[in-house]
Amino acid sequence: MSLWLTLAVNSIALGGLLFLLSAGFSLIFGLMRIPNLMHGSFFMLGAYFGVSFLQQGVNFWLAALLSGVAMALIGGLIERFLLKRLSGQELPQVLLTLGLSFIIADLCLMIWTGDPWQPATPPQLRGAVQVAGLFFPIYRLAIVAVAVVVALALWLMIDWTRLGAKIRAGVDDAPIARMVGIHVSKLFTLIFALGAGLAAFGGVMGAPYLSVYPGLDAEMLPLALIVVILGGTGSLVGAFVGSFVIGFLYNFGQAMFPDLAYVILFLPMVLVLVLRPQGLFGKVMS
């Protein structure tokens, strides 16, 4: 009984973290039609930024925010000066993001060395809550709260603001959106920066329990891909639901079918690709 409860709560926590990672990925994928293979690198680089800020004695939440802002700037610059030059050419864009991810990985190795870093959990969130003789780390619950706040903010922005309407128009049909006077290329830069910033913020949030080390980028990228393929590209609801589905599958799958640990995450993805290629909440591309 306690095993299942622990797993359930942990599933939700992992889902929250995955949402921070994949919300931006989904929007970028939906709007720009490219899987951004740098997304794991943004997550890792953000986490490293966070580590450096924390070493300077910066408050944990401030470090997460600063890291997100810094990464958003970098992401914006990459989009504006590199990806834009290749606009409309999806394959070169994907290759560019892949190449940059290798460069970022090696830069991180040079600057932060190969040693794993694990920032301490922020003091006010240390320890565990005890429910019915069962320990549960407070920090992971905090991540869920943060993810829900971010999800609400994103939802408000996408569904209730002019900017959000433009983004939705761009996702639905970029050429028509251009025709009615929306600066879709500006939206590209904005969304790319937003996605990068969110991933970096997620990286710092995840650092106290995932730790930061070379190779973290390559571990997170497939998770983002699975979530988005499952949920559907360009859909926030999809990313949200997909994250929690994967969170549960990951936890229960690894506990119940340990020998299938490698397949358990990809199986639902394959099913979705076969039965509903646009994803659970994706729209059929015209």
Binding site: T6, L109, G114, P116, Q118, T121, S211, G215, P258
Partner: protein, 413 residues
Amino acid sequence: MKVQRRTVLKGLLAASAAVAAPPFLRAQAAPFKIGLLTVKTGPLAQGGNQMEQGILTFLTEKNKTLAGRAIELIVADTGGNPAGAKTKASELIERDKVNVILGPLAAFELLAITDYVRDNATPLISIAAAEDVTQRKANPFVIRPSATSAQCCHAMGDFASKELKFKRAATISEDFAFGYEQMAGFQRVFEDNGGKVVKKLWPPFVTPDYTPYIAQISNVDCVFNGFAGSNPVKFMRAYADLGVKDKIPLLAGWTAMDDALLKSLGDEAVGVISAAWYSSEANTPSNKRFVEGMQKAYGVLPGGYSAGMYVAGQCVEAAIQILGGKADDRKALAEALHKVSLTDTPRGPVKFDQYGNVVGDVFIRKCEKKDGKLVNTVIKTYPNVSQFWSYDEKAFLGNPVYSRDYPPAKNLE
């Protein structure tokens, strides 16, 4: 990293300066070439960098001259994969014509090149732990001054059952050969002493969160973990966060509690008991020089990867001495390396069995917090531990190699 690269460059410059010196300043023979197969890029770079620091510390201490021979060090980055290891090994052997290879880091890299170094008659001093390279498939050109996967785990199994009086254990380690071999060694000795391994967990090498595995552990006296790389850092934090650490003591293999890892760990590591073939606390003269050298040059506490390469350097020096400086015949060098017997190395006395594997001390350490810093305090030393533990060598080699299914776990619940 920048500093390291610069130091490497300095080392190479110094080495090339020695080569470029006027002929009368040079020793009569060309420099003795050591090829280092290490990993400087990718996820395994942490251990690879430490290996390089270890051998550089040794060569600096010896002024780049071993037993009268000038030394040239050639560093090759395998990228941490078998194909890269093969390419770089052939570069070192065929282009650079090195006298001896140190490394590589990972077992799968070593397995990719053992036949190749034998065919090309180049001695290799390994730090990778794959059991069979010094057992059923022993290679006359390979020696291993570090340890086989299970060498320390045998001792841990003994300590856990006899001294800690644990009866029921769970094991957890990555789902690959190094993990299987470690857990098998622990299980064999622990169960031969009357204990029971009731649960064996195998998370994949890439596991973002260990909670689902830790949640399955209950009703045992101890958990033995054999994680490597950056995984132990993640695992131990989760183990403590879930409140399991206060209830079930954690035991560890050498990679999971390596001294070099301590700076990445926090309070979650306090109290963990580990078995390792190297301890930075060891009180030998060469270890003091080694630890000081590492502190001075890199500002770090050295662990097994650095120590392994330092000891490898000492073995090379001793072998050149045995050959009286005429160390250019690679076959003779391989034979001399097998005969090496050292009384003072950072890990204590070192000698080799007929298969080329070290017979040396194994330390049982307990992690403590002293003056705000984590240290692994040695609480017991098992002297002269062989890769066969106390088992008969012939019988040991008659069994299959340690694996996920051997020895069979009969007490799983």
